[in-house]
């Protein structure tokens, strides 16, 4: 074999071996048992963080000069659903946030009703699962106040946020955005239904008229265009059963890391 032959043979062999390893890794990743095993780390992470970090510990808050001038809007930035478009065109005057499910008193709150509830302002860092961060100021009604007004029934363990936007264009409801929290995060002091961003009404790109802020988790938990809050006992019967649009697509339900 000439030297050039040998070199190209070696190169080919290395590429073939590399290709085999890569293909094996991909097949491993797609194997349901491997997926389940890897996904177990999520529970370990959640339990460890919940055990070590105080329940009510606050996410760091920043000062006004830290606010990002280029806060990125991700996911849906302009919902096209006709019902939402109609609400937006009327300046959200007909908007009603429905609170139902396992509650004593189902509610339908206008923006004025929300603004009348105990509010909180916070300047926090938003961490997208993609890796970037932006700082913004959020003002909104405390979710705990909303849930207390509705009165959770015994057995309610999660609150589900149903949104106006379809992030994946589907004929049925599968593409519609939704999210969920357990009660520990739902009643956290910094968990708010924000109607203002940087002291102005929440822009459409960032979830107008109301978005969730749950500061100790990644950006996809912060549901935008929230239309309905449903208290439930279990997440399993809802859509893909994993508790959120991205969770149904393989992302962690507990997004504290």
């Amino acid at each position: 074999m000439s030297r050039i032959d040998r070199r190209s043979w070696l190169k080919g062999a290395a590429a073939a071996a590399g290709g085999l390893v890569a293909a094996a890794c991909d097949r491993l990743t797609l194997n349901p048992t491997v997926q389940q095993t890897l996904a177990r780390a999520e529970g370990l992470t959640r339990r460890t963080q919940r055990a070590l970090f105080p329940r009510m510990a606050l996410a760091p808050e920043f000062s006004p000069e830290d606010i990002s001038p280029d806060f990125r809007a991700n996911g849906t930035i302009n919902p096209q659903d006709p019902a939402y478009v109609a609400l937006r065109e009327a300046g959200f005057s007909d908007y009603r946030l429905v609170v139902d499910g396992l509650v004593e008193r189902p509610l339908a709150l206008s923006l004025a009703d929300l603004r009348a509830l105990p509010a909180r302002s916070q300047i926090t860092r938003h961490d997208c699962v993609e890796g970037w961060s932006s700082i913004g100021k959020w003002t909104g009604a405390r979710l705990s106040a909303v849930l207390e007004a509705a009165g959770l029934k015994e057995g309610a363990r999660f609150v589900v946020f149903h949104c106006a936007d379809k992030l994946e264009p589907t004929v049925d409801e599968r593409g519609r955005y939704y999210e969920s929290l357990d009660l520990e995060d739902a009643f956290h002091e910094q968990t708010i239904l924000a109607y203002e961003m940087n002291d102005a009404p929440l822009p459409v790109a960032h979830g107008a008229p109301v978005r969730l802020r749950v500061e100790r988790q990644l950006g996809y938990k912060h549901a935008k265009y929230v239309m309905r809050i449903e208290a439930v006992e279990s997440l399993t019967p809802i859509r893909g059963g994993k508790g959120g649009f991205w969770e149904d697509r393989g992302y962690e339900w507990y997004a504290g890391i």
Binding site: G18, A22, A23, C25, D26, T29, L30, Q35, T37, L38, A39, R40, A41, E42, L44, T45, Q49, L52, F53, P54, A57, L58, A59, P60, F62, D66, S68, D70, R72, R125, D127, C128, V129, E130, G131, W132, S133, S134, I135, E215, R216, Q217, L218, W246, R249, G250, Y251, E252, A255, G256, I257
Partner: protein, 274 residues
């Protein structure tokens, strides 16, 4: 049969690596490989790095992108003020992506699957590191094998070791039974700086961690700085592994690998007159 050749002195076999060192070494190999490849998959979701707390989107200090030029895609990588064409590897490799498919786990694009691998093996990595450090500090491995001995830190000696190392002249006899100074320094930096840095900068990216550990995030200069330092520490580990593997091969691949598997290491005695 009489022979004119001087008989070669017999090889001496010593016990080089303890059981904990060997087990944690190979566990670490697996964990670091998975973490590197899945880390690049995660990086590809936003192939840009920043300094500070937040992302200054128009001014990343590292960024990978693809541009169309005359109907062809060109991969570009920006580092500081310089822009390099990196078509085929970074920015564009058959599709628009930061690192190419062969470097990521999984090879196809999936942030969700990359995160699963990453956060499972992050636990493996962290527990393994804790076991190694605890055993090494309590059992004396660090003091005995990694900390430089007094005679190794004399200036003339240091210069000679650097010269020997550069010429790939490896010690024999008694001297081969311990690590040389450069080796010790490299291992100390990996064990006490780079590996812990991966863990700490990784934690600083967790949004929940900020509620208790913001002091550490501040120490690193903010979350995006922590992300940058995570990437740089990983790069330093890759650099170490490249040199480490080259040294393993140059100083006797079989003997070294056997030592890290079985613990036994063959030492060639000092030849007379040398």
């Amino acid at each position: 049969m009489p022979s004119a050749e001087r008989p070669r002195p017999p090889m001496e076999t010593i016990r080089r690596h303890g059981l904990v060192t060997r087990l944690t070494h190979w566990t670490n190999v697996l964990a670091v490989l998975v973490l590197l490849a899945s880390g690049l998959q995660i990086f590809n979701a936003h192939p840009a790095l920043y300094w500070g707390e937040t992302s200054t989107f128009s001014r990343p200090w590292v960024a990978m992108a693809a541009v169309e030029r005359g109907g062809e895609f060109v991969g570009l990588t920006k580092v500081g003020g310089a822009v390099f064409e990196t078509t085929g590897v970074l920015g564009y490799s058959g599709e628009v992506r930061g690192f190419p498919a062969w470097a990521t786990l999984p090879g196809y694009r999936s942030l969700a699957d990359g995160r699963r691998w990453h956060f499972f093996f992050a636990w493996v990595f962290a527990i393994n590191l804790a076991v190694y450090l605890a055993a090494g500090l309590i059992g004396g491995h660090v003091r005995r094998d990694l900390l430089p001995d007094r005679d190794q830190i004399r200036p003339r000696r240091i210069l000679r070791e650097i010269a020997d190392h550069a010429r790939l002249r490896f010690p024999h006899g008694a001297e081969a039974k311990r690590y040389n100074l450069l080796q010790k320094l490299a291992y100390l930096i990996v064990v006490f700086v780079l590996l812990p840095m991966m863990l700490l900068t990784g934690l600083c990216m967790s949004p929940a961690f900020g509620s208790v550990g913001y002091g550490l995030i501040e120490l690193f200069g903010g979350r995006q700085s922590a992300r940058t330092l995570h990437f740089l520490s990983a790069s330093a580990i890759v650099l170490f592994v490249v040199v480490h593997l080259a040294m393993v091969v140059a100083s006797g691949a079989w003997n070294n690998i056997r030592a890290m598997v079985t613990g036994r290491f063959a030492v060639r005695p000092e030849e007379a007159g040398t």
